[in-house]
Symmetry: C2
Subunit: 262 residues, 2 copies
DNA sequence: AAGTGGTCTAGACCACCAA
DNA sequence: TGGTGGTCTAGACCACTTG
């Protein structure tokens, strides 16, 4: 029955030369990215999707299974398939790896120190793959674990990724956005998803041991030169674009970074 | 046709109450663990396995796909399915996360400092889930990256895991084993697999920043109190048993620890 | 009871590889 | 050319959730 490079009928741009289930997966990612399917939403059932796309249920299933494996979608027997919510719980387990030495995982509180636009510096250009002279949003904050200052953090996001952030780089960003960032504190990825349609699916972290600088020592209330764990993270969305660069320096006296490799 | 809790016919111990493909997966893991299927070996084809186990090809496929996703098995279209070899390449990419700041990944050289049996200390008892008084093999070594000393490392393995290591804990272990450890340097997990039938599939790493002690400073040729990245790793085999505890302290001046989260 | 995802089967054709 | 895994289909029954 099948010809050679099969092709879906319902797409705008023609996708070819990859398996049907992969094409369907791409189509679903588009629907999530463009807001047709929003976070938390119930998707049509496998049978409905199969009929709409004119493929078998098994093919739809394979596409959904892959999305589920990537945590983009959650499947619940008897209920249906849902778009993942980057809620606090998930953000905590998936993207926040500092845990207490006793194994407890606590949500850190955050205090925003500064929030401003600026022209991308060399490090930002490199890690966010920007053109020279691009604008970025920069957030500086101090985070607390168990009430004690534990992490000094700088975040950079390309202005181009956030339409609401357009404007001269030497003026203050909208107050509303600052409030959003302050409020979402620990679940920025959920904010990106629900507000900007950006789905973070991956992060690359580079870790090293460094000595606390004067400012860090002051913020974290420790001696100068105290060893800190530096976490240099770039978050990447479903289309492979770097969305956020985050440089954290953490005290690891009562906490450690947990990595599970499998 | 199907009854309720389906059951395979060919097993020794009865496995029940889980899906057929999961039972088949377990059976395959047994065959790999007990040496019936050795590293690098070509497995029977899906159709042969399906016939032998009296299930459909699709069910065998699902079991094999899961093993492939776990890197326990490698599938090659047109050739067949093979038991994974923990070769240097794989060990490097999967379990060794220290990379050069320029992105290069180099295989470290190792120099064994000491190699002896002993009674498990508190930390070893806890991390390796041992009974008090159990014996462990302890290896102390210094590792070099780009010719320069970079990592100070202590490894502990329960004697019970290695039959060839049985004997009084206050005597020296067999020379042959020491030679093996020295030679395999970076691919201990391959040694565990091919020699002892232990398949490492997972590792849990805890990272923190610490200050170099006197001995470490001497070995690594840096100043006292230099910040070091401490990596506390427990390797776990396919049956969930902790096999090895490794405590490393690394210089991160020209290298960093790379973690990819997805 | 109706609808969902989860498991399992049987069979087709394809792309790839080795002899 | 024959055998392998990779894709796709069609249809069955199961377990779970909701009304």
């Amino acid at each position: 029955m099948c010809g050679m490079p099969r092709r879906l009928k319902h797409e705008g741009p023609v996708i070819e030369a990859k398996p049907l289930y992969a094409q369907i997966r791409s189509l679903m990612l588009h629907r999530i990215g463009d807001g047709t399917w929003k976070p938390g939403m119930l998707l049509p059932s496998e049978l409905q999707l199969a009929e709409e796309l004119a493929v078998s249920q098994g093919t739809v299933r394979k596409a959904l299974d892959e999305l589920a494996a990537q945590n983009i979608v959650v499947r619940r027997q008897g209920r249906g398939t849902f778009v993942t919510t980057h809620d606090a719980e998930r953000a905590l387990h998936h993207f926040f790896h500092l845990v207490g030495d006793d194994g407890t995982r606590r949500l850190p509180e955050s205090q925003v120190i500064s929030f401003a636009r600026g022209v991308a510096q060399a490090g930002e250009v490199a890690r966010l793959e920007l053109a020279a002279g691009s604008g970025v949003l920069r957030i500086r904050r101090l985070r607390f674990l168990g009430g004690k200052p534990a992490i000094s953090e700088t975040i950079a996001v390309p202005i181009a990724m956030i339409p609401e952030l357009d404007g001269p780089v030497d003026t203050a960003p909208p107050e509303e956005l600052r409030d959003l960032y302050q409020a979402s504190s620990n679940t920025l990825y959920d904010l990106y998803h629900s507000r900007f349609g950006i789905v973070i699916v991956k992060a690359v972290e580079r870790l090293r041991a460094v000595a606390a600088t004067g400012e860090e020592a002051r913020l974290l209330k420790v001696a100068l030169e105290t060893p800190l764990l530096e976490i240099d993270r770039v978050a990447i969305d479903v289309r492979g674009r770097p969305i956020e660069w985050r440089l954290s320096r953490a005290l690891t006296l009562e906490h450690h970074y947990l990595a599970e490799i499998e």
